[in-house]
């Protein structure tokens, strides 16, 4: 267990207890991720990779096992405490962008900072939008932006809180090939700047650009390089 590891997962389990049976979505995965890695999390439908992503993103708590993020054990935190961890440490990029339709690009990017009561939220948001090349689109509403531009806004939002990890769930899933390639380039550029990025995907092209691959199958890990 290295001291520069951002993520330490130890025997993570996520079980759902139904009256008739217990579903073992994740049945004991362990791994660590160092700072600056670009990791692909792959696996077929129902493999448990979404469940793993939810745990890594602190959207859910493990039934058993421990999850240490930046040296802090986040496995048993309350919902509100997890919200705070997400706000301070994690940036999400979703397949369907998940921008708020009534806010413009700048306001969308600014949102995490508002909930975290960060100072200078507007200027930080503007800086992030500039970083993804959308300085001329700040006052545009999401429905005035193309798919690629929307995903850029989402990435800017994911960066605005300077997160320890960027979690992207099928980031190119709703984009055409050309735009998808552009977004992947943006992510690899961010990686070369030192960002730790985890991409959940079932697209081989996407998995290929990553330096490491964690493969999930039936709730367990099969690691490949």
């Amino acid at each position: 267990m290295s001291s520069t590891s951002v993520i330490e997962a130890c025997n993570l389990k996520r079980h759902y207890h139904l009256p008739s049976e217990t579903i073992k979505a994740l049945d004991g995965v362990s791994f660590s991720i160092q700072k600056g890695e670009l990791v692909a999390i792959t696996g077929p439908s129902g493999s448990g990779k979404s469940t793993l992503m939810n745990l890594l993103g602190c959207l859910d708590r493990p039934s058993e096992g421990s999850y240490t993020l930046n040296g802090n054990d986040v496995s048993k935190l309350s919902k509100d405490a997890l919200s705070e961890v997400r706000n301070q440490n994690i940036g999400f990029v979703f397949q369907s962008f998940q921008l708020l339709p009534r806010l413009n690009a700048l306001e969308n990017v600014e949102l995490p900072l508002l909930y975290g009561d960060w100072p200078d939220s507007a200027s930080r948001a503007a800086a992030c939008l500039t970083m993804v090349g959308l300085e001329n689109r700040m006052s545009h509403l999401p429905n005035e932006l193309s798919g690629g531009q929307k995903q850029r806004v989402a990435i800017a939002r994911a960066l605005v809180n300077d997160p320890s990890i960027l979690l992207a769930d099928e980031p190119t899933g709703n984009l055409d090939t050309k735009t998808g390639t552009e977004i992947l380039k943006l992510l690899t550029d961010l990686h070369s700047e030192g960002r730790t990025i985890l991409i959940v995907t079932h697209d081989e092209e996407v998995a290929r650009i990553c330096t490491r691959r964690i493969h999930v199958l039936d709730g367990l890990l099969v690691e490949k390089k």
């Binding site: 919200s83 009534r102 949102l111």
Partner: protein
């Protein structure tokens, strides 16, 4: 604090983005509050008007009337035992009496050449005008001497005068009441209201003349009594009762053959009856406010469902449960408060409109406005809480996946 203001701003933005829906949701509140305000304010205005009418006659007024005979438990014809002398005995022997007037009243047709007018004819003493608060506009009232002289003089009310004389002055003219001629010596000031206490449609003549020449009887209908300053009608009433029983030679076991109406009591009764009535009507209107609140809850539930993904996203990027709760609670509060303010304004406008037509002076008590606004806020919190709580409790993972 900054976050709180931001959340308020977010709430306004959301409401404004869906203007039509927000307005329709508010409509229930607007109608509810508007109708409650209109009813309360109108009711209160009517009550004030009635009370001030009674009060100009003086809350130190007592009215004694002959009671109806009880015949095996059923009330039949009135006793005829009330005499003018009774009134003056009261004046002389009961402590604290200021003015008295025997009164005999009847409806009659007044004739002047070809003009006719129906009026209430009061046969009364000279002090009657002071007791009832009837002011003289032209001419004069009759005197105690004229009462003694059984003079055929009369003081006429403004509406009746207009009907008989059009625009001419009634002073000095002679009219006929039941074929008896009366000379008009005074015109009373217009009061504007109707009914028992208004002089506008009446004719006042000496009671002696009324008894002897018009009615041919010795007994009177009523005695009006006012008390001196410092003497309450409640104190004086039992003394009057005792005196009258003695004068009418009533044995102890026999009932009174008269009724004493304490105007102070009438005032209190009218005041509370109209208040209860207003509250009752207002309560009914309040039901519409309740319905409005249910409408708000309905709309907010729809809104929460619609914005499930948005709520999921907000939570994912760091919103805590209380932030979500606050946002939706504020949206509901804004709807009801704004609706309450608009409803209050409309209610007051409606009130003024009706008051203008019905010739009532409208009051807008601050208490009703404040109550309405507080109620709006209460409705917003009460009916908005459940949807907001539902929103706050959403699981971010499920919410993000929601179609």
């Amino acid at each position: 604090m900054k976050l709180f203001l931001l959340i308020v701003k977010m709430a306004f933005r959301s409401l404004f983005a869906n203007r039509l829906r927000s307005f329709l949701a508010m409509l229930g509140i607007i109608i509810g509050v508007g109708s409650v305000i209109a009813i309360f304010n109108l009711g209160e205005s009517l009550r004030q008007k009635t009370l001030s009418r009674i009060q100009t006659m003086g809350s130190n007024l007592l009215i004694i009337t002959s009671s109806r005979k009880k015949f095996r438990g059923v009330r039949a014809a009135s006793y005829q035992t009330l005499m003018p002398s009774d009134a003056y005995e009261i004046l002389e022997h009961v402590k604290g009496i200021h003015l008295v007037s025997p009164v005999v009243s009847d409806g009659a047709q007044l004739k002047y050449f070809n003009s006719n007018s129906s009026a209430s004819v009061y046969g009364a003493a000279a002090d009657f005008f002071r007791i009832r608060g009837f002011e003289i506009e032209k001419g004069r009232r009759f005197s105690d001497l004229e009462v003694l002289q059984i003079a055929n003089v009369a003081v006429i009310g403004s509406k009746t005068a207009r009907e008989l004389f059009k625009n001419e002055s009634p002073i000095g003219k002679t009219i006929q009441v039941k074929s008896i001629r009366f000379r008009i010596i005074g015109l009373m000031k217009e009061e504007g209201s109707q009914g028992w206490s208004s002089p506008d449609q009446s004719l006042v003549i000496p009671y002696s003349t009324a008894l002897k020449k018009l009615k041919g009887q010795g007994h009177i209908n009523e005695i009006d009594v006012t008390t001196k300053e410092g003497f309450s009608p409640y104190d004086v009433e039992p003394k009057i009762r005792a005196l009258l029983r003695r004068l009418h030679r009533l044995p102890p076991q026999k009932e009174d053959d008269f009724d004493i109406h304490n105007m102070q009591e009438v005032l209190n009764t009218v005041s509370s009856i109209s208040l209860y009535f207003t509250i009752f009507l207002g309560g009914i209107a309040g039901i519409s406010l309740l319905v409005g609140g249910i409408g708000i809850m309905n709309i907010m539930l729809v809104t929460v469902t619609e914005r499930t993904r948005e709520i999921g996203l907000r939570k994912a990027i760091g919103a805590k449960e209380r932030h979500i709760l606050l946002q939706f609670l504020i949206e509901s509060l804004v709807l009801t408060s704004l609706g309450g303010m608009i409803g209050t304004s409309l209610g007051i406008a409606l009130c003024h409109g009706v008051g203008h037509f019905a010739d009532i002076e409208v009051v807008n008590p601050l208490s009703s406005i404040i109550t309405a606004l507080l109620f709006s806020i209460g409705v917003g919190v009460f009916f908005g809480f459940y949807p907001a709580w539902k929103a706050a409790r959403l699981d971010p993972i499920e919410a993000l996946r929601f179609e």
